[in-house]
């Protein structure tokens, strides 16, 4: 069922929705229309009924009057009311005639039809009037009976009226109609009261039955008035209170009280009748007022109903038309839009995207169309983008060479391609020209291009290297390890100026279709960074040399260095002490003393390998030597003292450095004397080598038995000092020049020997060289030259004594003055030490063969010696 519904075409779907709605609306409206129509017809009929009712009421009113008059007429046996009765009968007939005329009115047909029976019955009662009147005229009827007869007619008339009008669906009208009915009944009772009163006053008497009837009449009359007062609308009640009041009404009430009291009924029956009639006429006024009101109201309702009827009818038709029109419009519009979309979709699917779909409505279809348009736009955009990319790619492809030129112009590296013939490609980066200072690049064979720039061996390697680069069997990485111009120094020439450059050249294979097509070469000028690197290297080297210098100081055995420093300071101090004591201005002697000390210190510095101090002391020696030739003054000596002081300061600095080092050594203590011995041996060996080198000779220093004899610490310094002086003496004077030694059949290397031995009391040091020995004649000559001895002295001297001259102060045999000897001070130092330690010596010199010296030193009891 639902499936069949969903499958319906849109137009039918709408019909399914809308048609039942329209039907419901129309049905509802029909009910409304009908209701209003009924209201209308109801009101119209009621209006007519009231019209008829009013006519009947007129008749009733006149009959009521006639009843009272007739009652009076009969009560006094026709003495009074005769004339009045005739007049009344005329007016009764006149209203009757009016009623009948009304009935003949054409528009009452439906009402007459509806109430035929009631009206026929009423008319029959009205017909009885003539018979009743005849009986009255002929006095064949009693007053009471006549009242009953008239009342019977009136009763019927009133009931007919009630039947006629008591038929409405309007609650308000229904209530007012009931108010009228109650009022009519009350009025009828008032009218009967008038008739009874008229009768009673006419007879001046009221019997029991009539009296009862009278009270009941009044009670009922009042009850109906009460009811009227409850249900009548405010207007009617107010009208009633306004009309039915005043003297006449009060007069009626007064005479009613008289009747009720039933004492003496002496009132004039005419007066009663007139007064009552006034009251009844006024009641009739109220009745007319109310009838009139209801008639107006029913008319009003009828008119409203008509208006409503037409309003709803027109509304219905309008709704129907509008609904149908709306449905048609909407469906037509929808179907139209759908078909537009459908056609557009077909066009899109056929590939035509040039147009937009236009749906003027803003409903879902309109939005759908917008979305569709956006979608199509996106597709077109991406198509456009694709086309643009394609065009760009085409453009790039076409302009590839141009682009590469631009790229090459802006690269700082030299870049070019090599082909299989090693030719440089047509396009290369601009930097190539700058790096090689050469315009002819393109098309050149790269090996030829490099030929003037690099070494032949490098060039050979380059050619081989390029060949391997193009060899696909060779791994690129393997070949690249052997790049001979990976980093190469080239010499370029520009405007006659030759510049050295360092360049880095790198090679990369370029493949096309898995074959090596080209080699891409990149050249970068690294001159600046390499020069910088060289600078750094040099600076580093310099720093290293300085470090080595300091280290050379540190290499010296700390105990030896400490001794050296201690000794140096002590001796340098003795110079200044001597200077201060110098009262007689004997500067020559002072200078000699100073020279002696400095020379000794220089020898020590050389032996322990402390070039720094050796050089310093040598400078001082030079200064002193410069002064020796002339007469020395205090001012000159001050300059020397200044230099001595400088040396002292340097030593102080070294001492301080040493102090720190000693602290380190204390933490890692040495293994006693044997280590000290080794350090002494080491420094003596070094000293010998150094001296020999300076003298252009070679020596070999041999130690014998030195491991077995341990030098006490106190002897280490003197031992070293003596040995170094002896070594210097041997190397400078004893050992011959290599050429001499060769000619004499000696080995070129001079042999030096130091041997230690020990007895219980003495320690023996044997020093020996294989040099030329002491030259007695030269010693003599030298001693004479220096003024140490006279010819006479010499003649009385033993050979040993002459040999001992070498130990004398100021004796020097060498001609030239170097660091190592020649100042005639060295051997004197040895003698001084021996004297200091109470040692003895013996010299054995074999001419041309050897020099030997044996030193004896007393064995010290306490090892700590004489440290100060």
């Amino acid at each position: 069922m639902i499936k069949r519904l969903t499958n319906l075409p849109i137009r039918q779907k709408f019909a399914v929705i809308i048609i039942p709605l329209i039907v419901i609306i129309l049905a509802f409206d029909y009910l409304q229309v009908r209701y209003h129509y009924l209201d209308y017809s109801d009101s119209v009929r009621l209006n007519k009924a009231i019209r008829v009712g009013i006519e009947i009421n007129h008749v009733v009113h006149e009959i009521q009057k006639e009843r009272s008059i007739s009652s009076g007429f009969l009560a006094n046996q026709g003495e009074s009311f005769g004339v009045k009765l005739n007049k009344q009968r005329e007016s009764t007939d006149s209203t009757l005639q009016q009623y009948y005329n009304e009935l003949t009115n054409g528009d009452l047909e439906d009402l007459l039809e509806l109430h035929r029976t009631d009206l026929d019955q009423l008319n029959a009662y009205f017909d009885k009037l003539s018979t009743l009147r005849k009986n009255i005229d002929e006095h064949r009827i009693s007053s009471e009976s006549s009242i009953d007869r008239f009342s019977e007619i009136n009763n019927n008339a009133l009931n007919t009226v009630i039947k006629l009008i008591d038929e409405t669906r309007d609650k308000e009208i229904a209530q007012q109609i009931h108010a009228i009915i109650y009022f009519l009944k009350s009025k009828e009772f008032a009218s009967i009261e008038r008739a009874i009163g008229t009768q009673a006053f006419s007879r001046n008497h009221i019997d029991f039955t009539l009296y009862n009837r009278f009270t009941t009449l009044v009670a009922n009359q009042n009850s109906y008035l009460d009811a009227f007062n409850i249900i009548a609308n405010q207007e009617s009640i107010e009208y009633y209170n306004q009309i039915v009041s005043g003297e006449e009404i009060e007069e009626v009430d007064r005479m009613r009280e008289v009747l009720f009291a039933n004492d003496t009924l002496s009132e004039n029956p005419d007066h009663w009748y007139e007064s009552s009639t006034i009251k009844i006429n006024r009641l009739k006024d109220v009745e007319d007022y109310m009838s009139d009101n209801i008639q107006k109201r029913t008319q009003n309702i009828a008119q409203t109903s008509v208006r409503n009827f037409w309003t709803f009818l027109i509304l219905d038709v309008t709704i129907g038309i509008i609904a149908f029109w709306l449905m048609t419009t909407i469906v037509t519009n929808l179907l139209k839009n759908v078909s537009i979309l459908e056609a557009y979709t077909r066009r899109i699917s056929a590939g035509d995207m040039t147009k937009k779909v236009v749906i003027p409505t803003k409903d879902e279809l309109g939005q759908y169309a917008n979305t569709f348009n956006r979608m199509v736009l996106e597709i077109r955009k991406s198509q456009f983008e694709l086309r643009k990319q394609r065009d760009k790619a085409k453009f790039l492809y076409k302009n590839i060479y141009g682009v590469s030129l631009v790229v090459f112009e802006n690269i700082e590296q030299g870049i070019f391609l090599l082909d299989k013939e090693f030719k440089i490609s047509k396009f290369h980066s601009k930097a190539m020209k700058e790096i090689f200072s050469n315009d002819r690049i393109a098309g050149e064979n790269f090996a030829n291009f490099m030929r003037p720039l690099i070494l032949p061996r490098e060039l050979e390697a380059l050619e081989m290297f390029m060949r391997h680069l193009f060899n696909e069997d060779m791994d690129e990485e393997v070949v690249n390890q052997l790049n001979p111009i990976d980093q190469v120094k080239i010499h370029t020439e520009q405007n006659g100026i030759v510049a050295t450059k360092y360049i880095r050249v790198e090679f990369t294979r370029i493949f096309r279709k898995e074959k090596i097509q080209n080699i891409m070469v990149s050249v970068s000028d690294e001159t600046e960074s390499i020069l910088l690197q060289q600078h750094l290297n040099e600076a580093e080297k310099k720093k290293q040399q300085e470090t080595e210098r300091v280290l050379s100081i540190l290499k010296i055995d700390p105990s030896i260095l400490r001794g050296f420093l201690h000794n140096s300071r002590k001796m340098l101090k003795s110079i200044s002490e001597r200077y201060e004591k110098n009262e007689n201005d004997e500067y020559g002697e002072l200078l000699s003393f100073t020279f002696d000390i400095i020379h000794n210190l220089k020898g020590n510095a050389v032996v322990i390998g402390m070039e720094l101090m050796a050089n310093k002391f040598h400078e001082i020696e030079d200064s002193i030597t410069a002064l020796q030739s002339k007469e020395v003054r205090g001012k000159d000596f001050l300059a020397i003292l200044y230099e001595v002081d400088e040396a002292d300061r340097m030593i102080a600095e070294i001492a301080e450095m040493l102090y720190k080092i000693i602290n380190i050594y204390k933490k890692f203590p040495a293994e006693g004397d044997s280590v000290s011995n080794i350090m002494v041996i080491d420094s003596l060996e070094r000293g010998a080598e150094l001296i020999a080198k300076e003298e252009g000779k070679t020596v070999n220093l041999t130690f014998d038995n030195i491991d077995n004899v341990v030098l006490p610490e106190a002897y280490i310094e003197p031992f070293k000092d003596m040995m170094i002086q002896l070594i210097r003496n041997s190397v400078v004077h004893g050992i011959e020049a290599p050429s001499v030694r060769m000619s004499e059949g000696k080995v070129i290397m001079g042999e030096l020997l130091i041997e230690l031995s020990k007895s219980d009391n003495e320690m023996f040091i044997r020093y020996k060289d294989d040099g030329r020995g002491l030259d007695i004649e030269r010693i003599k000559r030298q001693a004479l030259d220096k003024g140490l001895v006279t010819d006479t002295d010499l003649k009385g001297m033993e050979e040993f004594e002459i040999q001992s001259l070498i130990f004398r102060e100021g004796f020097s045999t060498a001609d030239k003055s170097g660091t190592n000897a020649g100042r005639g001070q060295g051997m004197h130092l040895v003698k001084s030490i021996l004297d200091q330690y109470k040692g003895a010596y013996d010299i054995t010199s074999v001419d041309g063969k050897s020099f030997e010296m044996i030193i004896k030193l007393p064995v010290l009891n306490v090892e700590k010696g004489d440290e100060e």
């Binding site: 791994d475 070949v479 390890q481 001979p484």
Partner: protein, 124 residues
């Protein structure tokens, strides 16, 4: 089948280093030679697939040795491992038929990479 490897170097330390670093490879070390003459003899006797060859060796240097090996079996994959900085010699070795080249001192990574290449290209 395992490839047969011959290690040629005058330094026993170097030979051990190479041997140790190639332990993970699917290679059978058929021998070690301390000089070119020994090497040529072993190539002749044992026909190795792969040879690591030093250039500076006593008796017969690496280049001469390489020439001999190529005469015996041109298919031998020779990997030059040398401390010699001269690139021309290296290039000559390639000319003579060496397939790999490394500088001493070798580290495990470089050796592994070079052997990967040498063996892979052999496999192709």
């Amino acid at each position: 089948m395992k490839k047969k490897l011959l290690i040629v170097d005058d330094s026993s330390v170097m030979r051990r280093t190479i041997e140790k670093n190639l332990a993970d490879y699917d290679l059978e070390i058929i021998g070690q030679a301390a000089n070119g003459v020994e090497a040529v003899q072993m190539v002749m006797d044992k026909r190795p697939d792969v040879v690591t060859l030093d250039i500076t060796m006593p008796e017969m240097d690496g280049i001469a040795c390489l020439e001999e090996i190529m005469k015996i079996n041109p298919e031998t994959k020779v990997m030059i491992i040398t401390a010699l900085a001269d690139k021309l010699t290296g290039l000559i070795a390639l000319d003579k038929g060496a397939r790999g080249f490394m500088y001493k001192p070798v580290n495990a990574d470089d050796l592994a990479r070079s052997f990967d290449k040498l063996l892979k290209r052999d496999g192709e």
